[in-house]
Subunit: 304 residues, 2 copies
C-alpha cells in the first residue's frame, strides 16, 4: 500500500521560551510524510528551491520515503517559516512566512503516482488539493488539512475541496470559524454537510474528536512531562492517521478510531524534540508501545 | 454512606452571549451537593444570609440533601456572584463578587456530622478547609477544590491543606500556577509532593487528568451540541466524583477512574441549563445512560 503526501517542505526557525533553532527541516508535508512512513510506503510531492540542502533530501530518503516528487524549482527559493512559542507552549506568534516556490506551485504527478492507494494533502491551496485528490484513480481514502489563511480567504473553495475528500482534519478554532458555531460537536455536524465523510477536529494537547454520519469518537491527548517544540504536531497527527489507514485491509469505524489514536501517539513523539528530529529515528515498535500505554491511560470500566 | 459538602451557597447573575438570568441559586457547594446527591446521601454545610429565599432551601431539601447545616447568619447577606461569558463559552469575566456571610464564615459541624464517611470542601479559605477535613473521624476519603484567589494570596496555606486531603481538584491554569511548570503531567507530579494522594486537573470542556503515585488516567470531556451556562461545571464534576466514591464499598484505582467519568458526566448535564436547573430534575438513570455513552464515545481497540 502507498500513501501520497503533498504539501510544503520548508526551512524553519523556531524559538521557544527555553531554546532556539535555525535552519531546521520543516513543513507540514515533511512531518506528515515522516509520521506516515512509520506505518506504510510514502510518496512525497513537494516543491523546493535550488537552496534546499541535499542533506535534508538524503535524510528524508533514508527513512524510506520516495522523494522522486520533491521537485527542485530552478531559480526558486525553498519556503521558510519562523515562529515563537509563548510560555505555555500552546500559543505562538508567526515571525515570518516566505512562500518561495510554494507561491505558485502547480505540480504534476510523477508517473504511476496516480495509482497511490491513499492521499493526504497537507495545508495548501484548496483548488490544488482538490485537483490532486481527483487525479488519483479511485483511492481507498483521501484527507485534507488546512490553515486559517485559506479558511479566511477562500472558505467556499475549501468547502468544495472538503466535499471531494473522505476525511478533513482541521484545528478546533478553524472548525469553529468555518462552521460559525462555538460547539465542536455542532461544528463537526455542520461541516459534514460539505460532503466529506469524516470530520476530525484537532484539539492540540487535548487530543482529537472524530465525527461521521454514524460514529463519534473522542480521544484525549497523550500526557507529556515535557514539550520541546510543538511545531508539526498536527501534521504528524494527520500523517500518522492516514499512514495507519493506508496500512489496514479495510477502513472500518474501529480502524478509524485506532488511526486517530495512532495519529495522537506519533504527534506525542514529534513534540519531544525540535523539528522532525524525533521522528527521524522513531520506530514502529516504540509507537506500538506508546499506543498500548495510551489504552492503559484512558481505560475505564463501563459496566460494574 | 454520607458525604459532607462544605462551601458557598450563593445567588448568581449570569450573562451569556445568548441570554441572561438574575437571582439564580448558585455557589460551588450547591452544585457539588446536587451532583453528589445523585449517588449518595449528602450533608450541606454553608452559610447564608437573612435574605436567602426559603424556596431555594426547600428546593435543595426536596432533592434529599440534608440542609441542617445551611446556616442563616442573623443580619448577614447571602454571597453574590455575577459573571459574563464570551462567545466561545469557555472564558468569562467576573462582574462582581460580594462575599457577604462568607467573608468570615467559621462554622461548627452539626452534631454527628463528624462521622460523615467522606468530605468535599469546595473552594474557600484553605485553613477552614483543613480544619473541616481534620475534624472528621477517619473519613474514607476527602477532597478539596480551590480558586485562583486563594492560590495567589495564600499558596503555602493551600499546599498545607492539600497535604491533609486525599484528593485535590483544581483547574489546569491553577495547577500550572501553583506548581510553576507548564506541563500538566509535570505539575501534577510536583503537586503530589504536598502529600495529597491524588491530583485531579480539571480541563474544562476537554475533560480531566488524574495522577497518583501509581496511576495516571486521562478522560476527554463529553461532547455537547450546546452549552447554555458553564457555571458550576467544575463543582458538579467534583461533587459527582466524590458522591460516586462515597457510594462504592472500596476506593480502588478502577473506582477512581469511574468516579472521574461520572464526574464529567454529571458536569455535562450541569451546563445544559442555567444554574443548577438541570441537576434539580436529573436522575441516576440518565446519568448511567450517558456514562455508558461516554464509554462508547471513547472506546478504541488496543490489540488488533
Amino acid at each position: 500500500m502507498t500513501l501520497l503526501v503533498s504539501g510544503w517542505v520548508a526551512i524553519d526557525t523556531i524559538e521557544t521560551p527555553f531554546d532556539r533553532r535555525e535552519g531546521l527541516l520543516g513543513g507540514s508535508a515533511t512531518c506528515a510524510a515522516l509520521a506516515a512512513g512509520l506505518f506504510t510506503d510514502v510518496r512525497l510531492l513537494a516543491a523546493v528551491g535550488d537552496d534546499f540542502p541535499e542533506g535534508y533530501r538524503d535524510q528524508l530518503a533514508s527513512t524510506g520515503i520516495d522523494v522522486t516528487g520533491v521537485t527542485p524549482i530552478p531559480g526558486g527559493k525553498t519556503s521558510q517559516w519562523g515562529g515563537r512559542y509563548h510560555y505555555d507552549m500552546n500559543s505562538r506568534d508567526t515571525l515570518y512566512t516566505e512562500l518561495g516556490v510554494n507561491a505558485d506551485w502547480n505540480p504534476s504527478l510523477p508517473e504511476g503516482w496516480e495509482k497511490s492507494d491513499t492521499i493526504f494533502c497537507a495545508a495548501g491551496d484548496p483548488e490544488l488539493q482538490k485537483r490532486l485528490i481527483t487525479s488519483l484513480h479511485q483511492p481507498k481514502a483521501s484527507m485534507v488539512d488546512s490553515i486559517a489563511f485559506f479558511l479566511e480567504t477562500v472558505p467556499e473553495k475549501f468547502r468544495e475541496t472538503m466535499g471531494a475528500a473522505d476525511f478533513v482534519a482541521i484545528n478546533e478554532s478553524e472548525a469553529r470559524m468555518l462552521a460559525g458555531v462555538p460547539s465542536i460537536a455542532k461544528a463537526s455536524a455542520e461541516l459534514l454537510k460539505t460532503g466529506t465523510k469524516g470530520m476530525i477536529v484537532k484539539l492540540g494537547e487535548y487530543g482529537a474528536a472524530f465525527r461521521s454520519g454514524h460514529d463519534y469518537f473522542i480521544a484525549p491527548g497523550y500526557p507529556l512531562e515535557e514539550v520541546i517544540d510543538p511545531t508539526g504536531a498536527g501534521d504528524s497527527f494527520a500523517g500518522g492517521f492516514m499512514g495507519y489507514l493506508d496500512s489496514v485491509p479495510e477502513i472500518t469505524p474501529a480502524a478509524i478510531r485506532r488511526a486517530i489514536v495512532y495519529g495522537s501517539t506519533v504527534a506525542s513523539f514529534q513534540v519531544e524534540d525540535f523539528g522532525p528530529t524525533r521522528l527521524m529515528n522513531l520506530t514502529r515498535k516504540e509507537v506500538d508501545e506508546r499506543y498500548r500505554q495510551f489504552g492503559a491511560l484512558t481505560h475505564f470500566e463501563v459496566d460494574g
